[in-house]
């Protein structure tokens, strides 16, 4: 059985009022343990709603959402699900609770009722895993956006999460902060086998994923590896999404008859391919 199984999931906001909005309509999705998945979509396509279902912040109106075999609608199992699925939100300022980095990372394990010594161990481990161990005694407002997001990731890791959901976690960061957060996530995914669900509209982040889901108006309209999804640039453009710059450039160069492979995703790949083909 897959780690996350979403079956026929529907979610309706403001049901029964004039503003009734079907944010998710009959969505099916599975994520295996240890997979890195990206969810793409324009604003209002339902991707954040989907994320909130996976750790039970929202509950299904129809269908079900299973995490490691636990059902989000079961109140008993809900807390186990939240422990296993950590979430990092968009605004780095609005998810740190305590006035010190280490106290904030300890917040999750404290809620789980762990012993102080065990909490201490976990906090040290989690901060080291995201490279923030030198900032234990810092106040959150003294950190950069990227550092705050890494502390938020550590807060989830300290609960021993198996899966990390990044809900546009890099959208408010500068390029440097984005890079440091994504590097930390990539490392956790590779070294610790963390399952990652990355909700984003940055195409280069999606390019790092094993699988990409493209959403539109509450439906999943495309699924596949980044190569498969980005190969068809036209449908993506219709959804208001652009393919990564390197993919677009490769496509245009190929049209002009340059001999390049079709599965290039990153700028580095493109440079290597060009050098291999044309620099002697």
């Amino acid at each position: 059985m897959a780690f996350i199984e979403i079956k026929n999931l529907s979610h309706i906001y403001h049901r029964g009022t004039e503003q009734e909005l079907c944010a998710l309509d009959n969505v099916n999705l599975t994520v295996e343990e240890g997979e890195f998945v990206a969810v793409l979509g324009a604003n209002g396509s339902g991707k954040s709603t989907l994320a909130r279902h996976i750790n039970g912040l929202l509950l299904p109106d129809k269908g079900q959402c299973l995490v490691a075999g636990l059902n989000t609608t079961n109140a008993e199992e809900l807390w186990q699900i939240r422990q296993q699925v950590g979430m990092v939100f968009q605004n780095p300022d609005n998810q740190l609770i305590a006035g010190l980095v280490e106290d904030d990372v300890a917040f999750g394990p404290e809620n789980l009722g762990m012993k102080p010594a065990e909490i201490r161990r976990r906090v040290s481990r989690a901060l080291a895993a995201v490279g923030m161990e030198d900032f234990r005694q810092f106040a959150p407002h003294l950190l950069s956006g990227g550092q705050k997001q890494r502390v938020a990731i550590a807060g989830a890791l300290a609960m021993n999460t198996k899966c990390l959901i990044l809900d546009e976690a890099t959208a408010m960061l500068d390029p440097e902060g984005r890079q440091e957060v994504m590097a930390a996530v990539q490392r956790l995914h590779e070294e610790k086998g963390l399952t990652v669900i990355c909700i984003t509209h940055f195409m280069d982040e999606a390019a790092q994923a094993d699988n990409v889901f493209v959403m539109q108006a509450g439906h999943i309209v495309q699924t596949g590896t980044p190569q498969q999804v980005f190969a068809k640039a036209e449908p993506l453009r219709k959804l208001g999404l652009a393919v990564p710059l390197a993919v677009e450039l490769t496509w245009k160069l190929r049209q002009h008859g340059l001999n390049l492979p079709q599965d290039i995703l990153t700028e580095d790949d493109l440079v290597t391919a060009l050098e291999a083909a044309y620099v002697h």
């Binding site: 605004n91 102080p116 609960m159």
Partner: protein, 265 residues
Amino acid sequence: MLNNIMLGQYFPGDSVLHRLDARVKLVLLLLMLIEVFVFTSGPAYGFITVVTGLLIFLSGVPVRLVLRSLKPLWWIVIFTFVIHLFSHPGQELARVWHFAITQEGVVQGTLISLRLLLLILLSTLLTFTTSPLQLTDALESLLAPGKCVGMPAHELAMMMTIALRFIPTLISETDKIMKAQQSRGADFTTGNILKRLKNMVPILVPLFLSAFRRADELALAMEARCYRGGQGRTRMKELRIRRVDYWAMAAFVVFSMVMGVSLYI
């Protein structure tokens, strides 16, 4: 103006004062502040000043930093001193226009200003040596007996934790909004008080809106991290009374005795 506020500034360290249990610190501070009010003789104040100096030294917090916390309050101290200088009848030292500076005035003014300075210094010393979370944990623990009469001790402490955490964030946000409004021609520096207050509205409305949005998102983030109230919650930094705390209490008793004796000098 806005970044002078030193409220809730923690200076990480490992001094004796840092190691003290936050509850002990909080209670001893309160008692000490009361004593500052009760024992108002010259020698007593001299003694408290020396003790405060000693505490600052013990805390390992740079003196410069401690003094900086006084900055926003200097003018209050000076104002108090000047008022007292002129308002006590007694032996006249000098005369400014209609007003007489008296010897009693000088003495009273000095004592009252000193009292203010001591109050501020001692309280900031607490926030310098106690992390916000320890402080609120101490508060929760001290209020815990009130739980049986329905006092929401955990909720109050959590509210304080969040408030302390968000003060700097909201201050910098206020700064940003002010600049945004000023760049569009808003004027916060001229006109009478009424007009200035009215001009604050374009700052307060966006500030409140954003604070509510922050609160909403924070609640979601807390829920995502398994927060479900104080029930079954443990602490990484447990409050525990240790030997150093008993020593501190003993030192306080000695301090109080000296203060008592100073009344008869």
